[in-house]
Structures are given as structure tokens and as C-alpha cells.
Point group: C2
Chain length 206, copies 2
């Protein structure tokens, strides 16, 4: 059965993205530095259909694993719009469900990526993603607000965070306004690295 | 030579203390849950002159170590006032420098703890702590605002955080308004535990 997951990098002060996000600055000021560990990995570039990266070790395996386990993605409209102009064709290789008020026909890319635009809420998107994922996991890709909505609805089963050793000083926090009464959290796995700290949590509803 | 350190527990959403702090509620709403891992350790209770705790393992060793390496403490007035009514006599077993606008004679406790009340700023407190610590480390005990002042002044050499697997949902964040241009951070040590995640960082000024 599909798990509902997210897998996000944050700064040590908890930011998911920097200030002044736009299509020209898609992760916000200094936001990309949160993902420096990822940009060094061959696995990241391979999975997003590009050449690049220097390293292939434990950090890379985590990247391969999350791509491999994911059978459908859900993302917010803002992340979609910021990414749309930058992503290579067929990056996601699954169905991607975009939460938006905009009516738009599915965007079928060459390969196996199709973007569906969902106008009737997070549970509807999840239901459609579940059918599409065919037993694989459903990844809530972001942004922070979309992840917060799924967390506070009690719908997340498990997540990875990657805590970068740097301060961003401002921006959009991943964990903001989280309902403290929704879950019991268990530390499932801690994977030390000199680049970032990977921690996996399992959630059970209270 | 003394290092300037802090060693703080935070929730997964980054809170150092909960809302509604007072002498009757010294860590704020649900704030004590951040430290559940610590309250389970014999080492914690022993070091604060009380009986208690069930466990003595790696988590306990970290507690013994930070007490052992610390030769002087610095804390904010609010933390002092909230703690003063609860702490056992001679808890700190060193000099403690309290940042305050209040003029007050040193409070010499039985044993080796003396509280000094410092009215002329964080660098003055540090200078006095350095003389007192006699080569051992100087721990900025808290609260969050005091730690932020020392961080943003570029005075911290190293710190431990202990990230508890829970959301607090509100309160006072440890890393808020941190100057992103002050330090390069290095992950010095990650100590997994099923109770909390211990991470030690080393800082060098940019």
C-alpha cells in the first residue's frame, strides 16, 4: 500500500526556501545552498535527466531510493510555476498532481510524465495520486505550504529531512504552524554525512 | 583555551521553549517535552543534584560531558528568573554570569556556585566568564535570545543541538534572525538515538 511521504532539505534554522522566490529565483535567496549536498551527487543529476555530480556514495543512494519508491507526486501551484520553466522534459517519470485553482488540460510530456491540474482540494489530489501510484509511494514534493497542509490533515506516513549545516536567516520555514496534537513521531533512521544530516521519521496519528 | 559553546534541545519545528513562559511554567507550554530524552537519563538528575532517571547510555554520556567541560555559564535574566525558584542550591558548581539591567550583589551559594549580575553587555560577561573558567569551556546556557546574541556577535565556537522527535507548534525558536554571513558551519558529530538526534557543529568565522 502506498505511503504518503515527503523528502525535503532544510537549513539549520529550518528554512525550506529563501526570500524573494520567483521563476527567476525558484528557491529564493540562497535557497539552493540548502541542497548543496544533493548537487554534488551523480544520482541527483541522473534522476533529473542531466549530466553532473562528482560523488556516488550513501548520500546518492538516498536520492536514488526516493526517486525509485515514488509512484506519483503532488505539488503546489507555486512550486510548479517556478519549476516549469527550468525542468527537463519527463523529469518526474510519473503522474504529477498540481494543486491549483486554474483549470487546465493535463500536460502530457514525452516519456511517462503527465501533469494533472487539480481544483478540488488536497484529498482529491491524494485519491487520484493513489490510483496512479499503483502501490508505490506518493511524494508530496512541496512547497512548504503544501507539505504543511498534508501534515496538518494527518495524511503523512513518513518523511525524510536533510538538515544542511548553514543558516539561511530568513525565508519560508518547512515546519511552521504544525499541529502538535496530530502525530506521534518516531526517529526511524539517522544517516550522518559531512554534507548534511539525513533523518527519517515515521508518523502515527494520535 | 576556553571554547564558547551552547548545548540546547529543540523540537523538530525548531522551538527552544513553548508559549506562555513564566516562573510557574518555566519552559513554556509543552516545553519540557523537548527534553524528555534528558529526563530519562540518570546523568541529568545526578548533575542537577537530584535522584532520578532510568537510563545510563550514550545519551547520558553527552550530559556528563557537557557538565564536565563547562567552567562558567552565561545566561539571560529571564532564564535566571524562571529557574531561580526551581533549581537546587549549587546546581551549576561554577560561576554563572547573568545578563541583566538589574544591579544586584553576587549570590554566593553553598558549595561552588556563585551568580554574578552583569550590567554592561555580552562581551563583558564573556570576559569575566573566561577568567573564571580557567581554560574550561564557557557555556551560553540560554534562553534563545541570549544564544542568538552570542551567535550574531560571531562569538560561538561550537554547539550541540538535540532535535526531539515532536512538534511544538509555537513558542520561541532557537535559530531566529541568525546572521547567515557570520560563520561557516561544519558537522562535527552526529549521534543517533531513538530518543532525540544529537548533532555537534563547529563554527569558523567567515
Amino acid at each position: 500500500m502506498s505511503k504518503i511521504i515527503f523528502d525535503s532539505g532544510i537549513s539549520l534554522d529550518g528554512y525550506f526556501a529563501g526570500d524573494h522566490r520567483s521563476t527567476a529565483n525558484p528557491m529564493g535567496d540562497n535557497g539552493p545552498t540548502i541542497h548543496n549536498w544533493m548537487f554534488k551527487q551523480k544520482a541527483f543529476w541522473k534522476n533529473v535527466n542531466r549530466e553532473g555530480g562528482e560523488e556516488y556514495g550513501n548520500d546518492s543512494l538516498l536520492i536514488d531510493n526516493v526517486f525509485a519508491r515514488t509512484g506519483a507526486y503532488i505539488m503546489g501551484k507555486r512550486m510548479f510555476e517556478e519549476g516549469e520553466v527550468h525542468w527537463k522534459e519527463d523529469l518526474y517519470k510519473t503522474d504529477v498532481f498540481v494543486l491549483t485553482h486554474e483549470k487546465r488540460e493535463p500536460w502530457v510530456q514525452k516519456g511517462t510524465t503527465t501533469f494533472y491540474f487539480i481544483n478540488d482540494g488536497i484529498e482529491s489530489a491524494l485519491e487520484k495520486a493513489r490510483k496512479s501510484a499503483n502501490g508505490k509511494d506518493i511524494r508530496i514534493q512541496g512547497g512548504a505550504n503544501t507539505i504543511q497542509q498534508y501534515l496538518n490533515a494527518g495524511l503523512i506516513d513518513e518523511f525524510f529531512i536533510h538538515i544542511a549545516p548553514l543558516f539561511l536567516g530568513g525565508g519560508i520555514r518547512l515546519f511552521d504552524g504544525i499541529d502538535k496534537n496530530k502525530y506521534n513521531l518516531e526517529i526511524a533512521e539517522v544517516i550522518p554525512s559531512n554534507l548534511t544530516t539525513h533523518i527519517r521519521y515515521k508518523l502515527t496519528k494520535k
